[in-house]
Symmetry: C2
Subunit: 403 residues, 2 copies
């Protein structure tokens, strides 16, 4: 029932242990659901309660600890022995009296790990301040080491099977983009376009189904295109407005994000011009991608390409992508920005999204790609032009085809 061969999980585990050894970590206490999935296969929406995967450097299998009602799901989706699935009672959940980390610390003590060096993901959504202080208090003889992103950095190079998963996510992303664009006309509301996108994302194709993306589709409209993370309203689209669609296709938790900008009716000269500049910049940057290049080389090329038009971009240009859970599809390892000296290798995967946001408008065109021997290969196959959409519903829009 798990997604990869046991051999692939064991390879990942070996790489993790090697990194632990380098950092002097005996016990890695993982709370990031993507890292838990990566090493164990565990896949469920249970990360809203405290849970952990514990990798012990001299033990063959990790240990999963979570809520009692989630233990069956852990047994079903992980490759480990059932004995390695340990659960706590429900009175620990959202209680002010009991904390799940007390239980987990007890387990670590019981199995003789209470005096070792323990790596914890200090800057991670699902490892709260209280979780850390509770562990620290209940494991007074342990030493704690910050292991934020340790597993994330191992995830950065994908296996061929992971690339195949992402190709499927790319097909889903492209279908969903078509569905979204076709639902943008003045007879339609923002929520209707979001619903059309969601249907495609989850339905997937006839051959394979879609998984939920870690971020909802975003479609800021009109003046709101200056704010990339606003979600939809139930207002109708307006003739003359622009709409930014940013979404990700997801296949078995692997993401391929994709952004395009749509003009409802005739675009302004300004939007047209911006879109040309962005398109040219993307094309030039994609040429720079090859094994051995630094990630910051991409930023330098972007700056060179766009600064001649007076464009300055304060925010980063993209990030490593792949396996993830809400609230983010970025991998929290390498970023496409100045100062990032990550050396590109084959089967690294990035979302290159040089979004531009101004006081009263914005534009996004993006490309998700993987690094091959010869350069960047996109996961999607969609024109990078500004999309101009008729304000009126066209008869062929039910077919999900952009003309």
């Amino acid at each position: 029932m798990f997604m990869f061969d046991i051999e692939e999980y064991q390879k990942r585990l070996e790489a993790t242990k090697k990194s632990m050894a380098n950092k002097g970590i005996d016990v890695l206490f993982i709370t990031d659901p993507a890292n838990i999935n990566y090493l164990s296969g565990y896949d469920a929406w249970s990360f809203y309660v405290h849970q952990a995967l514990i990798v012990i450097i001299d033990e063959a299998q990790p240990i999963w600890i979570g809520r009692l009602m989630d233990a069956s799901g852990a047994k079903a989706t992980t490759w480990m022995y059932d004995e390695n699935i340990i659960s706590y009672s429900d009175y620990y959940v959202h209680s002010t009296e009991f904390h799940p980390m007390e239980f987990m610390a007890e387990i670590l003590n019981e199995i003789g790990q209470g005096r070792r060096s323990i790596g914890v993901e200090m800057d991670q959504y699902y490892f709260s301040a209280k979780a850390f202080l509770t562990l620290q208090k209940k494991l007074p003889f342990a030493s704690f080491i910050d292991a934020t992103s340790l597993v994330n950095w191992i995830r950065i190079i994908k296996s061929d099977q992971e690339i195949e998963f992402m190709k499927r996510a790319g097909i889903i992303a492209e279908n969903a983009m078509h569905a979204g664009v076709n639902a943008i006309h003045t007879a339609s509301r923002e929520c209707d376009a979001a619903a059309a996108i969601y249907y495609e994302l989850i339905h997937g194709t006839e051959e394979f189904g879609g998984d939920y993306p870690s971020i909802v589709p975003m479609l800021p409209t009109g003046e709101k295109t200056n704010a990339p993370h606003l979600t939809w309203s139930d207002s109708n689209f307006k003739d003359g407005n622009a709409v930014i669609i940013e979404l990700a296709g997801c296949y078995r938790r692997y993401h391929v994000p994709l952004a395009r900008t749509v003009s409802i009716g005739q675009p302004s000269q300004r939007l047209d011009r911006l879109s040309e500049i962005v398109k040219e910049g993307i094309e030039e940057v994609m040429e720079v991608v090859k094994p051995g290049a630094y990630l910051e080389d991409l930023e330098a090329k972007w700056r060179e390409s766009t600064s001649k038009y007076g464009i300055e971009k304060e925010s980063r240009l993209g990030y490593s992508i792949g396996l993830n859970y809400p609230p983010d599809w970025g991998e929290h390892s390498a970023s496409i920005r100045k100062g990032d000296h990550t050396v590109l290798e084959e089967n690294m995967t990035f979302h290159f999204i040089p979004g531009l946001w101004f006081d009263h408008d914005g534009i996004e065109t993006s490309e998700s790609f993987y690094v091959t021997k010869t350069g960047a290969k996109s996961f999607t196959n969609l024109s990078r032009e500004l999309i101009v959409q008729s304000p009126y519903q066209l008869p062929d829009q039910s077919k999900g085809i952009i003309s």
Copy 2:
């Protein structure tokens, strides 16, 4: 552009300040996105980076601090002055060199709040261990007080407008449940049913659109009904299997969750019997709800009703609901369980979900309700019977009607 009158936000702020005063908190440093929204109106999918709303006990307006690209969204969706929207540069994002909490601590120092008592939400998804340690280090003269759930407890009694929002969420939940049930037949895949549900959740009705729920629809199937938090696969539904659907309708971030169990074809005697027991238990518990009752009275009634049939339930029976963001739609304040002495008041809102999970199967029927003068009033209006669905696609299933 914000969702409630300024008067309602100010009332909420006053209640928050009163609670702060009781706990000796001068400055409340809020990182829970639902609490940020509740007090400021801020609504965007930006909680995957560090952000905070700061309530100072002797200042009229809170301060929002977040990422530069999200400041426009904050100006657009909050009721506060633009001067109270402060943003940090992008080099703080997912960096190992810089941390957004360094910036936020500097702001607190600059505005003279660095030596006061600061309340922080210690056990909250978006306040990481590193976030707390960084604040503590950069504010050496502040004293920190655990303010987890301080605002959550203020949220527990809804205003009439909040109840109206939840009634709309209830309509969406019911429509989505119908769509899900109708998509369950042997010619359909789990992902197709999830897609049909999602379409309804986001599309909403002709009068109002839907918002994204904080948890995806869950539909464990067959033996997987023993694990409540597994998400869909792309396998076809099988004749004779049971499917649990748990979803929430959401209107402007306000949730109404709803769970039902569906049998594809003839249900087993066991499932039929379990469903009768659960239905009787729910009916008896709903009678107990009235202002002045303790929340644990509901649990006692459930135990009385079901223990005579040999049913024991280890996990809690429900929780307060309303406004929320991923990864949870529960409010993290009151729980329907033994030992919870919350006194029921008018306009409190709960999801009563006495799910039963066994080694090889499970059942869920739930009711979201609000407390009125005279008792519980459900947000949805759906039979509590086990739903028996034909294994074959019926001609009227395109209309979204359960016969």
